[in-house]
Amino acid sequence: MSLKIKQDHARFRDIVRGRIKRNLKKYIQKGELVGKKGKDFITIPVPTIDIPHFRFGEKSQGGVAQGAGNPGDPLSGPDGQAGSGQAGQGEGQHLLEVDVSLDELAEILGEELALPRIQPKGKDRIVTTRLKYTGISPSGPESLRHFKRTYKQALRRQIASGSYNHRRPMVVPVREDRRYRTWKHVPLPETNAVVIYMMDVSGSMGDEQKEIVRIESFWIDTWLRKHYKGLETRYIIHDAVAREVDRDTFFHTRESGGTMISSAYKLALELIEGEYAPTSWNVYPFHFSDGDNWSADDTRLCVDLLQERILPAVNLFCYGQVESPYGSGQFIKDLKEAVGARENVSLSEIADKDAIYPSIKQFLGTGK
């Protein structure tokens, strides 16, 4: 019997979905939802879903409670937080926090931006399977005999047949008692993908630029994760030299050196060639910088690396150029000239947060 409430619940989810969709652009621009993230779910503040009433403002009302403490002592807050929330800031914004699965969010993103589904490559190439022990059976090779289960079984039989003497606890398994581990062949995820994020952390990249990168990377992750079961992410930062870091460091490092973009490309190439063989992996390098490279020589080296070795190995190479007051922005022009015509290259200029939305569309709209 399905419950009557399911209808109302489905209706509610529908409304939430609609609201998120309608406000998606705002979420993307403000990066509001990034950060409140669980493993599979994300909490999204959805505006104006609650039914409004004439009611008192919470902060001007206060209340009565009981317990120890002196006047002036802090409460641990009616909502469990120390009351530092920013609720009720905007006009007409009664927020309700709703949990949405990342899968659903990706779907909403896809619908709203009209993104094409990605055709993963290498579907038929991967044939590896892995063994997984899944159960117990009465027959099998001796090497897989399950000692404990075998003795348990023997004990059970002895007790049932009355031959067990608790004064002299001796358990002797016979042939029928033996138990063996059984296994299954589990195919490895059919499609694997890796996203390699590269970012310029030289002095000219400010906090706002990094924020833009952070927001973009969240949505890119979400979208790609929908299409690839085993999505890995790697992070490379570079100024004049490149190194691989974890996610946290990636978004919070600030260096002051010059910029040699080729160093990052070399490192990415090393990763790809070393760990992510293009025959079995879908590779997505994303590079963000302010477009200021050290020298024209280095740019030439970059273009060579891309053309000769990176582009043939990856699904899609994306370069996002965030505007910064210091950068010359020359790099994207050079790239456009050299590789702009290649079909697995996507170049995008991101002037400010408003431009994130179209830029995501541009990156992911290629359907690669």
Binding site: M1, L3, K4, I5, Q7, D8, H9, A10, R11, F12, R13, D14, I15, T48, I49, I51, P52, H53, F54, R55, F56, G57, E58, K59, S60, Q61, G62, G63, V64, A65, Q66, G67, A68, G69, N70, P71, G72, D73, P74, L75, S76, G77, P78, D79, A82, G83, S84, G88, G90, E91, G92, Q93, H94, L96, D99
Partner: protein, 502 residues
């Protein structure tokens, strides 16, 4: 409901025993039907406010999601739910232990006794179970005809106004049953003339009816005449009723709005007696359990769950806790005679402390109180200084400077004042329609009787918009914002505020 929800045999036995104990203590309740539900079903019923046959609406789905999440994460669990109806319906959670079921049953009989006897519930529909199903059928019929979204959207707007009812109206007569036969209605606007007291002796006239008196009388009459011309005659707190009577609604809209209003009035007394009702039920489950129903092996679990319901949290008042303590305090005071003139006038701390006249009137008193009080009068009359100190009550508020919630006061008068303020008018702002033809333009003019606490403005604006969509003409709301009189106005297209003192 389905047959499988009937009580299994062993619960049936427990139920009969607990019911027996409850009756022995003098509780007087409707016949009560217990049903056993799984957690999913109980969450559903709870989302519907206890009525499995509610009309379809997404808000119930939202509540359901919240409840199921709470259950899944192990944060909250619904133990008990009971419906004010005759017979009463109560729901038990399938997975609970027997000792919990026992506790819940005892608790439920306390609630049902309260529903049956407290004066606040005298006007509620005791066949609400059927009425709700009836409402659902009506709403469904409209949805079939007009589409789900149109009806749902209208319900949203009705619900937005559901607290604009007159919480006292079931208990007082606000207007005459039949409209007065008005002579002036036939177009002739005669100015009534004050004649003063009758006297046959002409020479006494100036003594019996001096000129000032006649003038005062005349003024009163004129005012009354003016008021009659006003519309509504008196400020109308039952905004929903006013809408039903005067707003240009379609037939189905009228019906849906009346459904929302009826349900709001049905649920109102439960909110207005929360502390008393929960306290009363807790008092009785603890009495029945500890004195009669508990077995030795169940004591630990009972104590655990009982203390769980009575736990206090820093930022909120637990009605179970305050309620049960107050009931016990009343019983104790009347048992010992710590009430009345003699006790109140006694100055000696020691004497007061050991005061015991052995009157034994406690039980009788609490049964009387459960009949004639609601939360406001209950707190007003029985919350004493001693109680406030002993229970460590305090007021709290938001400190803008420190950006946090803080304990404000422990002073008895302040605490009581705040508590009463929270309970008065059901904790809702008191808003009434002053004029249905504001500035002679058919606009609606509402006044918020500001008592120190501002409205939540973003909500207020959106609610105003919903009100406007029913009234069709512009609506105005007078309130105060940070001490300044302000009129909020919504004309169907945009919001406007302007300064205006009353």
């Amino acid at each position: 409901m389905n047959r499988h929800t009937q009580l299994p045999a062993h619960l049936h036995d427990i139920r009969n025993r607990v019911e027996g104990y409850a009756r022995e203590y003098g509780l007087d309740f409707f016949d009560t039907v217990f049903e056993v539900l799984g957690f999913d079903e109980i969450n559903m019923v709870a989302a519907y406010g206890g009525f499995p046959n509610r009309y379809p609406h997404w808000r119930f789905g939202m509540d359901y999601e919240r409840l199921s999440k709470g259950y899944e994460y192990g944060l909250s669990k619904i133990y008990e739910m009971v419906i004010n109806n005759d017979p009463s319906y109560a729901y038990l959670l399938e997975s609970n232990m027997d000792v919990d079921q026992k506790l819940v049953m005892a608790h439920v009989f306390g609630h049902v006794d309260f529903f049956k006897n407290n004066f606040m519930f005298r006007h509620t529909n005791r066949k609400m179970m059927d009425q709700m199903a009836n409402h659902a059928t009506r709403v469904r019929r409209y949805q079939d005809k007009l589409g789900v979204e149109a009806v749902e959207d209208f319900i949203d707007r009705c619900l937005s106004l559901e607290n604009l009812i007159d919480y006292q109206s079931p208990y007082v007569k606000r207007r005459p049953d039949r409209p007065r036969a008005r002579a002036s209605e036939e177009g002739k606007e005669e100015r009534p003339v004050a004649r003063g007291f009758k006297t046959d002796r002409e020479y006494m006239q100036s003594y019996i009816n001096p000129r000032e008196f006649i003038e005062a009388q005349q003024k009163k009459l004129d005012e009354e005449a003016a008021r009659k011309k006003k519309f509504p005659e008196r400020p109308e707190r039952d905004v929903l009723l006013f809408m039903l009577e005067k707003a240009p609604l379609e037939r189905w809209e009228h019906d849906v709005l009346s459904i929302a209003r009826e349900e709001a009035y049905y649920f109102a007394p439960q909110g207005q007696t929360k502390i008393m009702n929960e306290g009363w039920a807790t008092y009785w489950h603890s009495k029945i359990m500890t004195e009669r129903a508990l077995e030795a092996s169940e004591i630990i679990d009972y104590a655990d769950h009982h203390s769980g319901t009575l736990a206090t949290h820093p930022g909120q008042l637990n009605p179970y806790k305050v309620g049960v303590e107050l009931w016990r305090d009343i019983e104790d005071r009347w048992n010992k005679g710590r009430c009345g003139k003699e006790y109140d006038e006694c100055d000696s701390f020691v004497e007061r402390k050991h005061w015991d006249k052995r009157l034994g009137l406690g039980r009788e008193k609490i049964f009387e109180v459960r009949k004639h009080y609601n939360d406001v009068t209950f707190i007003d009359e029985f919350l004493t200084l001693e109680f406030c100190v002993q229970q460590k009550l305090f007021t709290f508020g938001y400190n803008e400077k420190h950006q946090r919630w803080e304990i404000m006061e422990r002073e008895f008068r302040k605490v009581k004042e705040k508590l009463l303020h929270m309970l008065t008018n059901f904790g809702q702002p008191s808003i009434a329609i002053e004029d249905g033809n504001y500035e002679n333009r058919g606009e609606l003019y509402l006044v918020h009787k500001h008592d120190g606490v501002d409205l939540k403005l973003d909500y207020a604006r959106d609610t105003l918009r919903n009100l406007q969509s029913l009234w069709r003409r512009p609506v105005n709301l007078h309130t105060k914002v940070e001490g300044r009189g302000t009129i909020f106005r919504y004309d169907g297209r945009e919001h406007a505020d302007r300064r205006a003192e009353l």
